[in-house]
C-alpha cells in the first residue's frame, strides 16, 4: 500500500530535490553493500517474476504442457473477447466502488462525530480501530459465521422480515456479504485518517463559522468536507487498491469466488485460472493487466494527491 511517506519521497524525487545530504560520505564499495540486500530481494522476488509474467503472457502452452509457442498478444485478444473476463472486470469495478463507498462513508460519519467530542475522541478511536488488526481471511471467517444460512445469527433474524438468506446459492447475497466484510475491515483505517485530517483543521476556522451562525451540520458540509477533500481523494485511491488486491483473503474464505462466478473479482480469477485451471498464458496476461492497473492507480495518486490544502 502506498503511504504518505512514499508520496512525499517520490514527489521530492520528481521535483528534483534529490535527497542527498549536502554533507555526505565519499563513494566507496560500502553503499553498494548497504543496498545489496534490498536490491537482491527486489530483483529475485519482484522484478524477475514480473518480467516472467510479462514474457509468459506472450506464450501459449500446448495441451500437455510440453512446449509453448510465442503468440504475441493473442492471450490478451482472447481475454478481451472472453465474456467471463469482461464480466469479472465489471464485477471488480462494482465491488471496489461499493467497498470504498461503504467503508469511507461509515468512517467519515463516525470521524465527524468523534472529532466533536474532544475528550472522548481517543476513547472511541480505541474501540473503532480493532478491525485493522484482523487478518482478511479471519474477517471473512467472522462474517461467514454470522451469516451461515443454517446457524448464523443474521439469517435467523432476517427470516422474520421475510429474507431467505443463503449466500451459497444466491450470487447477490454472496456479493453483499464479501462487500460488507471487506468494508468492515477497512473502516478502521479510513476512520484514523479522517479523524487526523479533521483534528488538523484549526479551531479558529470552525469558530469563525459558528460565530457567523453556521450550525454543526452546516459547518460539516461547507467547511470540514471541503477542507478534508485531499484526504478523501487519498483514501479513495487507497481503498480502490485495497478492494482490487487485498480482498483476496476475504473472498477466498467467504465464497471462493462463487456461487458460479458471482464474486470472482480479477485478483481471484488470476489465482483461479493459474493455480486451479493451469492456464499459464491466460493467467499471466491477466497479471500484466493488473500490473498496468496498479501502475495507473499509483500514478493517479502521486499526480493528484500532492496538492495540499492551505488554511
Amino acid at each position: 500500500m502506498v503511504s504518505f511517506y512514499t508520496r512525499h519521497s517520490l514527489h521530492a524525487a520528481l521535483m528534483g530535490h534529490h535527497m542527498l545530504k549536502r554533507v555526505h560520505f565519499p563513494s566507496s564499495p560500502l553503499p553498494y553493500m548497504l543496498v545489496a540486500p534490498q536490491l537482491a530481494i527486489t530483483l529475485v522476488f519482484f522484478i524477475w517474476p514480473a518480467s516472467q509474467a510479462m514474457y509468459q503472457s506472450l506464450l501459449i502452452e500446448d495441451a500437455f504442457g510440453l512446449g509453448s509457442e510465442f503468440v504475441w498478444f493473442e492471450n490478451f485478444e482472447v481475454l478481451w473477447q472472453d465474456q467471463h473476463y469482461l464480466d469479472a472486470f465489471l464485477r471488480t469495478a462494482v465491488f471496489s466502488v461499493l467497498v470504498a463507498a461503504l467503508s469511507m462513508g461509515t468512517a467519515l460519519i463516525l470521524a465527524g462525530f468523534a472529532q466533536r467530542v474532544v475528550k472522548g475522541a481517543m476513547f472511541y478511536r480505541t474501540l473503532l480501530i480493532w478491525p485493522y488488526a484482523v487478518a482478511p481471511v479471519l474477517a471473512g471467517a467472522l462474517w461467514v459465521f454470522m451469516f451461515n444460512p443454517t446457524l448464523g445469527i443474521f439469517p435467523y433474524f432476517l427470516e422474520f422480515v421475510g429474507v431467505d438468506w443463503n449466500h451459497y446459492l444466491n450470487g447477490n447475497q454472496a456479493m453483499a456479504l464479501v462487500i460488507m466484510a471487506a468494508a468492515w475491515k477497512q473502516v478502521a483505517y479510513n476512520f484514523l485518517f479522517y479523524l487526523a485530517a479533521m483534528q488538523s483543521i484549526p479551531n479558529s476556522v470552525i469558530e469563525a463559522a459558528a460565530i457567523d451562525g453556521a450550525g454543526p451540520g452546516r459547518r460539516f458540509v461547507t467547511i470540514i468536507l471541503p477542507l478534508i477533500s485531499p484526504t478523501t481523494f487519498f483514501l479513495l485511491v487507497i481503498n480502490m487498491v485495497y478492494a482490487f488486491f487485498e480482498t483476496f483473503g476475504i473472498i477466498h474464505a467467504v465464497t471462493q469466488g462463487g456461487p458460479g462466478s458471482a464474486t470472482t473479482i480479477l485478483v481471484y480469477k488470476v489465482f483461479n485460472d493459474g493455480f486451479v485451471g493451469l492456464d499459464l498464458g491466460g493467467s499471466a496476461a491477466q497479471s500484466v493487466i493488473l500490473m498496468v492497473l496498479v501502475v495507473a492507480m499509483t500514478v493517479v495518486q502521486f499526480r493528484y494527491v500532492e496538492r495540499k490544502v492551505e488554511y
Binding site: 503511504s3 511517506y5 512514499t6 512525499h8 519521497s9 524525487a13 535527497m19 542527498l20 545530504k21 555526505h24 563513494s27 560500502l30 553503499p31 553498494y32 548497504l34 543496498v35 534490498q38 530481494i41 522476488f45 519482484f46 517474476p49 514480473a50 516472467q52 509468459q56 462525530f113 468523534a114 466533536r116 467530542v117 472522548g120 472511541y124 474501540l127 480501530i129 480493532w130 488488526a133 484482523v134 487478518a135 481471511v137 479471519l138 471467517a141 467472522l142 461467514v144 459465521f145 454470522m146 443454517t150 446457524l151 445469527i153 435467523y156 468492515w184 473502516v187 484514523l192 487526523a196 470552525i206 488486491f245 483476496f248 474464505a253 488470476v270 489465482f271 493459474g274 497479471s287 499509483t298
Partner: protein, 283 residues
Amino acid sequence: MVEDRPLTSILTHFVLILGVIAIALPIWITFVAATHDELRMNQVPLPLWPGTHLLDNLTQTLFGAGLSGSQGAPVWLMLLNSLAMAMMISFGKIAISLLSAFAIVYFRFPFRMTCFWMIFITLMLPVEVRILPTFEVVANLGMLNSYWGLSIPLIASATATFMFRQVFLTVPDEMLESARIDGAGPMRFFFDILLPLSRTNIAALFVILFIFGWTQSFWPLLITTDTSMTTIVMSIKQMLEAAEQSPQWNIIMTTALLARIPPIFVVISMQKLFVQGLTETDK
C-alpha cells in the same frame, strides 16, 4: 466542541456508540461462540451472551485434538509459526530498509538513482499480480515450506525505505560533520547516531509491520504444503472447509480468537505508535 448543546451532544454519543457496536459486533459474536460448547453452538438461535466453556475450548484448541478429524498441526505450533513469520518480516524489512535508506541519503555513488527507482518499483508489484512466477522462483530456490520462504520474499519495502529516508533527511548536517571530526566512520555514525535518532520511527514501523506479517494469508497458503508450517491465519481457511461437513464452530471461533489476540493486543497497547506509523506525514 464550539457550542455546547446537550441535545447535539447526546446525538453525537448515540451515533458513536452505535458505530462502536456495529464495528465490534463481529468480534463480539465470535468471542461469544468461543465460550460455548459444541452442542449449544448447533442450536438456533446462536447465543449472544458468553457461556462458561471458554477454558475448555482453549485447552482443547491449544493442546487437545483441536478440530476433530483434522490432521493439521497443533494450534500452539501454528501460533509459533505465525509469530516467527511476523517477526522475521518485521525485523527483515526494518533492517534492509534502514541500510538502503542510509546508503541513498548519505552516499554519492554511481547508479544511486537507479537503486532508488528499483526499490520504488516494488510498490507497483503486489504479490497478487505476479503469483505464479514468484511461486516458481521460491520453489526453484528450495524455499517452499520454510520460514525463509514465508518471510524473505515479503521483506523488500519501498515504503519503509522512503520513511527512513525521510527521517534521515531531518537529521542536521552538523551531526555528520562533528562525527567525522571525531573520526567516526560511516557505520559508526549509523549505529551511534542515526539508529538512536530513529528509535521512535522504528517502533512505529514495527507495529505496522508486525500486523502486516501476522495477517498474511495468501502467501503462506501458496508456499506451504507441509502442515507443520501452517500459520494460524491460514488454518482458519482450512477449518472453514472442514466446517462444511461437521461444524465445530466453538473450536473454529476459539482458534479465530487466538489468531487475532496478538495483533489486536499490539494495536491497542501501542496505539500511539500505531497511529504514528500509519498517518505520520511531514517529518
